[in-house]
């Protein structure tokens, strides 16, 4: 069994449509967080989000699919097209049972769902779209991607909130290791409608601030919660041996993965993020000194930030490893966040540079070396990505640069 590698990437991000634009904007520290324009958020406790405003759906999605897809599925279809093209692979040339897709989802299609529920309650059942039968399901991105590209191998979806993005990639890796030739993975979430925002506000973790420069401040004394965003990334995973035979460019390796679940509140036991990290490091057969950068979950909720910082301090020592959260430029993308962080980690390793965290003044108490202001040179060949899901999910993933992929 050889390594599982990433051969294609498609990105939909508030600060850049497509991998190149996203990476360039991220290195520039360009934030896309601004006042919500999809609806008037004036009377809502939350008014800011990272919106994808430059996606013209008819440029990227076939006409037949537009009426039956929520915005998140439209993003996912475009990103899957780009990832497949980027991987220089034609799915039609492989047996369809040898092609799969494993995605994650946090909220399904809230915008589509809200619209149809409005039809139901204000006009009656006869006015509800037939496509409501699937358009807002968690699994619909995987389903539509599979139909579009003729993928009839392993298909699945993970619903573990923000941790799902890593859980899906790890499961896709299992399928590649099990012999599937090509597996698409990653996630896209978009929930910036009144119904979506109301549901998110209920978590109590969203920032009420109205100034985009002051709203999402992880590891900062002035933290007030996070800002939501939409988007994510779709990746193609293949066995390294196959990728080399095909002579396709390899971005890097999905080298290690670990997942853990927190004990119930009031149990007297702490969170288990540390165990997820240790499992991922062991799975990748690396030690903490091999990790060049950590892409933090960065909830910007003090209790959660402390738990994350503590786990890192215990394993790496205080200030023992550079940490960054480019999601301060996009908002938290829910299931899309970690796949985008994995992509960003691969870019950072490729180009030898760590993108910055923006707007934050790191609080000393956290004991972490946060990369703020400017990008910083990176030395090393492995990165750690963390993702924690509401309700107790903790996942960690180690990615390795292309140059360091094991044979």
């Amino acid at each position: 069994m050889t390594a599982t590698v990433v051969t294609g990437i498609g990105v939909v991000s508030p600060n850049g449509l497509g991998l190149e634009r996203y990476w360039a904007a991220t290195l520039r520290g360009q934030s896309a967080i601004r006042r919500i324009t999809r609806f008037d958020p004036g009377s809502y406790p939350v008014t800011l989000a990272g919106q994808v405003d430059d996606f013209v759906v008819k440029d990227h999605v076939p006409s037949r699919l537009i009426p039956q897809t929520d915005r998140m599925t439209q993003f996912a279809l475009a990103a899957s097209d780009w990832a497949i093209a980027d991987a220089a692979v034609n799915p039609a040339e492989l047996p369809d049972s040898d092609l799969g897709v494993v995605t994650a989802s946090s909220s399904g299609g809230f915008e589509f769902g809200q619209r149809e529920l409005q039809h139901l309650w204000s006009e009656g059942a006869g006015h509800v779209s037939a496509y409501m039968s699937f358009a807002w399901f968690y699994a619909v991105n995987a389903g539509q991607i599979a139909i579009r590209h003729g993928l009839r191998g392993p298909i699945g979806v993970f619903v573990t909130e923000q941790a799902g993005g890593l859980d899906a990639i790890a499961h896709a890796r299992r399928k590649v290791r099990g012999g599937t030739s090509l597996v698409l993975t990653g996630a896209i979430d978009s929930s910036l409608s009144p119904y979506g925002i109301a549901a998110q506000v209920a978590s109590g973790r969203l920032s009420p601030r109205r100034d985009p420069g002051e709203a999402y401040l992880p590891f900062d004394d002035d933290a007030s919660g996070y800002v939501p965003g939409e988007g994510g990334a779709i990746l193609t995973l293949e066995d390294a041996g196959r990728a080399r035979e095909r002579d396709v460019r390899i971005y890097g390796e999905i080298a290690g993965y670990g997942a853990a679940f927190d004990p119930p509140p009031g149990s007297g036991r702490g969170p288990n993020l540390r165990r997820a990290i240790e499992t991922a490091l062991a799975d990748a057969d690396v030690s903490t000194s091999d990790i060049a950068v950590v892409f933090a979950d960065a909830a910007a909720v003090p209790e959660l930030d402390h738990a994350e910082a503590a786990a890192l301090a215990e394993l790496f020592g205080r200030g023992g490893v550079p940490v960054t959260a480019p999601k301060t430029m996009t908002g938290r993308l829910y299931s899309g966040a970690a796949p985008l962080d994995v992509v960003t980690a691969l870019m950072a390793l490729r180009d030898g540079v760590i993108p910055p965290t923006v707007n934050v003044t790191t609080a000393e108490a956290y004991g972490i070396d946060l990369v703020v202001g400017e990008p910083r040179p990176l030395t090393g060949s492995a990165a750690l990505v963390l993702a924690r899901g509401f309700g107790g999910f903790s996942s960690a993933m180690v990615v390795r640069s292309a140059a360091a992929v094991r044979h």
Partner: protein
């Protein structure tokens, strides 16, 4: 009495289910299978719901299930409209 046309149907299908830009059958579209036009059972369900509301006609589900081409769909709609018209006349309307 209202007549439902092929143009009406294709317009409604386009509106509620988009269209496959790669195919163009022109005026012969009536005889082409819905599969070939890229319209699956949900698209037809959606279209029939719009037709039912827009033309105030009930389309029996069993008969709708037998429809395979646009021409057959149009025939079903007009058959149903005539049936309804006859029923209304008999009811003294």
């Amino acid at each position: 009495m209202t007549e439902f046309s092929l143009d009406d149907l294709m317009r409604i299908l386009r509106e509620c289910a988009g269209e496959d830009e790669t195919v163009d059958f022109g005026n012969d579209v009536g005889a082409v299978d819905f599969d070939q036009l890229g319209y699956d059972s949900l698209a037809l369900m959606e279209a029939s719901s719009r037709v039912a509301r827009g033309f105030r006609v009930e389309l029996p589900e069993a008969e709708l299930a037998e429809v395979g081409t646009p021409a057959e769909f149009v025939a079903l709609v007009n058959r149903s409209l005539r049936r309804q018209g006859t029923a209304e006349v008999r009811a003294g309307g």
